[in-house]
Amino acid sequence: MLQDYLPIVVLVLLSTGLAVAAVLLGHLLGPKRPTAAKLAPYESGMNPIGPGTRRFPVRFYLIAVLFILFDIEVVFFLPWAVTFRRLGVFGLVEMFVFILVLLVGYVYAWKKGALDWE
């Protein structure tokens, strides 16, 4: 039974290995010449005013969370779309229930005014 999962393990190892190798080699071998100007934060060409880490309104956080919510929803579509043929009608109904639940959440957020800025 364990053999069935071997390809997945190899895939995971290979992909993470490749990613880590690319970043690590770049970090180790690449020339590093930090200068004050290069490290300064970019503010469309001007000297940045004040520190980068300042208090931000909570609305940004709200919009970020809403985005993550609906983005994960889209991620669930992918495996469903791949095995759409084999799942048949059951898969279709199941996914629509899933979408319906999230649609209720979306309408609630919309009516509550979480989407528009003010």
Partner: protein, 160 residues
């Protein structure tokens, strides 16, 4: 090159490290969106469908210097703008090149007066000067082709 004759049909290509690195650099050299004056309109013209600079891998005009390799100084650089240009040049990551587009950027052009920096090479090291006021889009693309030849000729000790 003996290996290739033996492995011809295996679809393997061998080349030098310089060859690969230089090819990859000229393949996708993203310009920074840095239009100053009239030459910027011609630069937009060369990005537009008729002259289409993206045939040479310059698909995107990146807005921030952090993600761009090539700075096209398109237009006349005034004294007030010079420190900004220098700061943007410093904030670009290492393999970076500068094309000075137009006479005003290359040598002050028509404006020999108090307000214009007489040539961008006083501020940033320039690789290719493109003449013209404003240079035609073909001239700009020719300038970029010369830059690509220059980059292809770079040696390992230049950037290691």
């Amino acid at each position: 090159m003996g290996i290739e004759s033996k492995l011809g049909n295996l679809g393997i290509v061998t080349t030098t490290l310089e060859g690969v690195v230089n090819w990859s650099r000229t393949g996708a050299m993203w310009p920074m969106l840095f239009g100053l004056a009239c030459c910027a309109i011609e630069m937009m013209g060369s990005q537009a469908p008729d002259y289409d600079m993206s045939r040479f891998g310059m698909e995107l005009m990146r807005a921030s210097p952090r993600q761009s390799d090539l700075m096209i100084v398109a237009g006349r650089l005034s004294r007030k703008m010079a420190p900004v240009l220098r700061r943007l040049y410093d904030q670009m990551p290492a393999p970076k090149w500068v094309v000075s587009m137009g006479d005003c950027a290359s040598c002050g052009g028509v404006y020999n007066n108090y307000a214009i920096v007489q040539g961008v090479d006083e501020i940033v090291p320039v690789d290719v000067y493109v003449a013209g006021c404003p240079p035609r889009p073909e001239a700009l693309i020719h300038g970029i082709m010369t830059l690509h030849e220059k980059v292809r000729g770079e040696k390992v000790r230049d950037w290691a």
